[in-house]
């Protein structure tokens, strides 16, 4: 078993006085795909924002490659090779598609340039057609493709996707899931937040379920599916 890329222990995160994360731990190993599940408001996005350094945990530690990165600046965390596609995509509407990609593009931490702009345009031919358009002229699906493409050109070791298929047409969702599998198969570790249980359990090596800021389940997708009653209770499905 390889060493953990991310080893977050006992994270407690607050928004003002409300205690959102209540002692969550998360390990992500090289090449592994982990599904993060739970209903709205259970702390999934807060966990990711804490890992990215966008909110500081009040307690707990975040080790990346064994180095303590708790409280480190977000750009430093990103530069360890973590790409994050937030809920709502976070593309730059005032930049052209080409600029969205070119300001993000950089070699990976190991110097790899496997994911360059031509390759992501090959992966998403629709972006190639839209390369000169402004970010504000894209459809929802194209915005999501751009957000993933922008994450990939940073040549990450870890890709974090928060609700990447939410609100998209079925055909586009299929394309995004296809891409997620392709990314997984290329050896990039993936942390996946999504509400479609069937899809997450199909791609993930491991799933974690959060309820009210605590981990109530961690294990193989099959083990979660096997306990249908509890799964319904946790996820409301």
């Amino acid at each position: 078993m390889s060493a953990a890329l991310i080893d977050a222990r006992d994270l407690h995160t607050y928004y003002d006085d409300s205690h959102i994360l209540r002692g969550v731990s998360l390990r992500l190993r090289a090449g592994e795909t982990v599904g993060l599940m739970g209903r709205n408001g259970m702390g999934k996005s807060t966990l990711i924002r804490t890992l990215m350094g966008l909110v500081k945990p009040r307690r707990g530690t975040i080790l990346i490659d064994g180095r303590d990165m708790t409280g480190a600046a977000t750009f430093r965390i990103a530069r360890t090779g973590i790409a994050y596609v937030p809920e709502g995509r976070g593309i730059f509407a005032s930049l052209r598609v080409a600029e969205n990609l070119s300001i993000a593009a950089r070699p990976g931490i190991d110097g790899s340039v496997a994911w360059d702009i031509p390759r992501v345009l090959q992966l998403f031919p629709r972006l190639a057609e839209r390369i000169g358009n402004g970010g504000d002229q894209l459809s929802g699906g194209e915005q999501q493709m751009l957000a993933i493409a922008r994450a990939l050109v940073t040549n990450p070791r870890i890709l974090i996707l928060d609700e990447a298929t939410e609100g998209l047409a079925p055909l586009i969702r299929d394309e995004i899931w296809h891409t997620i599998r392709l990314v997984r198969d290329s050896g990039i570790a993936t942390l996946l937040v999504d509400k479609t249980v069937a899809e997450v359990t199909a791609v993930a090596d491991r799933v974690m379920v959060l309820v009210k800021g605590e981990t109530v389940f961690e294990g193989r997708p099959t083990a979660l599916m096997a306990d249908a009653d509890r799964m319904h209770g946790w996820l409301g499905v």
Binding site: F75, S94, L95
Partner: protein, 286 residues
């Protein structure tokens, strides 16, 4: 021919306002801080030109000195003061930048005194260029127009066509995402503040021979620049350009032909624009 002279004056004044307002609007758009001390940076440029002209006789040196000095001054102010105020309340930011005005004015008073000084037009441009039969116009004012247009074009190309410019636009739109893709937003802030400062300092240096140099020279320009920024749309550099030309023309022509109401004209214009378009001519609609 008087009208032509006033039109050229209006163009020159408007372009000078653009140099000041572009830095003000850029700093607001990217850093989210309204810098009341921006007029003091203009004053630094004007006094820099006065001191250089007096000690070396070579006024042109004020341009490279203003560029380099302005960048260093701006980078220093950002690094040691402004950086610590982005997440503070607006009142704290107002107090900081107001305190800076007082410091710059006291510093100027301490070092150079409170007298008015005229700054001679550089000998190279101390003549008039015939523009139409029986009418010629100051070569130095043409030089100022040229400098402002060149700097404006350079600023436009930098923001619209370079990678750094794209990062600046990205930072103005979604600062958090700039960090998320692995870019140190603090460096972006420092660059923007340094360039905004340099533009104000250069504007002051260019203005010195036209308006002479006196205590509080930055105040009037600051107020008008705020009007420019508001009409153009907060954070919009192209908005600041068109708005500065508009204000330059309205103010200059008003003072020439309707002096009784000219002082009011630009504020009436601002109120009218805000009534029709609350976010300014080029502002993002909220």
């Amino acid at each position: 021919m008087n009208l032509l002279a006033q039109l050229l004056n209006g163009l020159q004044y408007g372009l000078l306002l653009f140099l000041i307002a572009s830095g003000l609007t850029l700093v607001f758009g990217v850093l989210g801080v309204i810098n009341l001390a921006h007029g003091s940076l203009f004053m630094v440029g004007a006094y820099l030109a006065y001191v250089i002209a007096k000690t070396t006789g070579a006024l042109w040196l004020a341009l490279p000195a203003g560029l380099i000095g302005g960048i260093m001054l701006g980078a220093g102010l950002e690094r040691f003061l402004f950086r610590h105020f982005y997440h503070r309340e607006h009142l704290d930011q107002v107090l900081l930048t107001f305190a800076l005005i007082l410091l710059f004015e006291e510093g100027r008073s301490f070092l150079l005194g409170n007298d008015f000084h005229s700054v001679p037009v550089p000998a190279l441009f101390d003549f008039s260029i015939p523009v139409a039969p029986g009418f010629s116009y100051s070569a130095y004012r043409f030089f100022v127009i040229g400098c402002c247009l060149a700097l404006g074009a350079a600023l436009y190309l930098w923001i619209e066509r370079t990678r750094m410019g794209a990062i600046i636009r990205a930072a103005a739109e979604k600062p958090e995402m700039v960090d998320v893709i692995g870019i140190d937003a603090r460096r972006v802030h420092m660059v923007v503040f340094a360039i905004g400062t340099a533009l104000a300092v250069i504007a002051g240096a260019l203005a010195a021979p036209l308006y002479s140099v006196y205590p509080g020279i930055g105040d009037g320009f600051l107020i008008i620049s705020f009007v420019v920024v508001v009409i153009g749309g907060l954070g919009s550099v192209s908005g600041a350009f068109w708005s500065a030309l508009l204000i330059g023309m309205v103010d200059t022509l008003g003072k020439a032909y309707m002096p009784a109401v000219a002082g009011l004209a630009i504020y009436v214009l601002m109120a009218a624009v805000l009534l029709v378009r609350p976010s300014g001519l080029f502002g993002q609609r909220a």
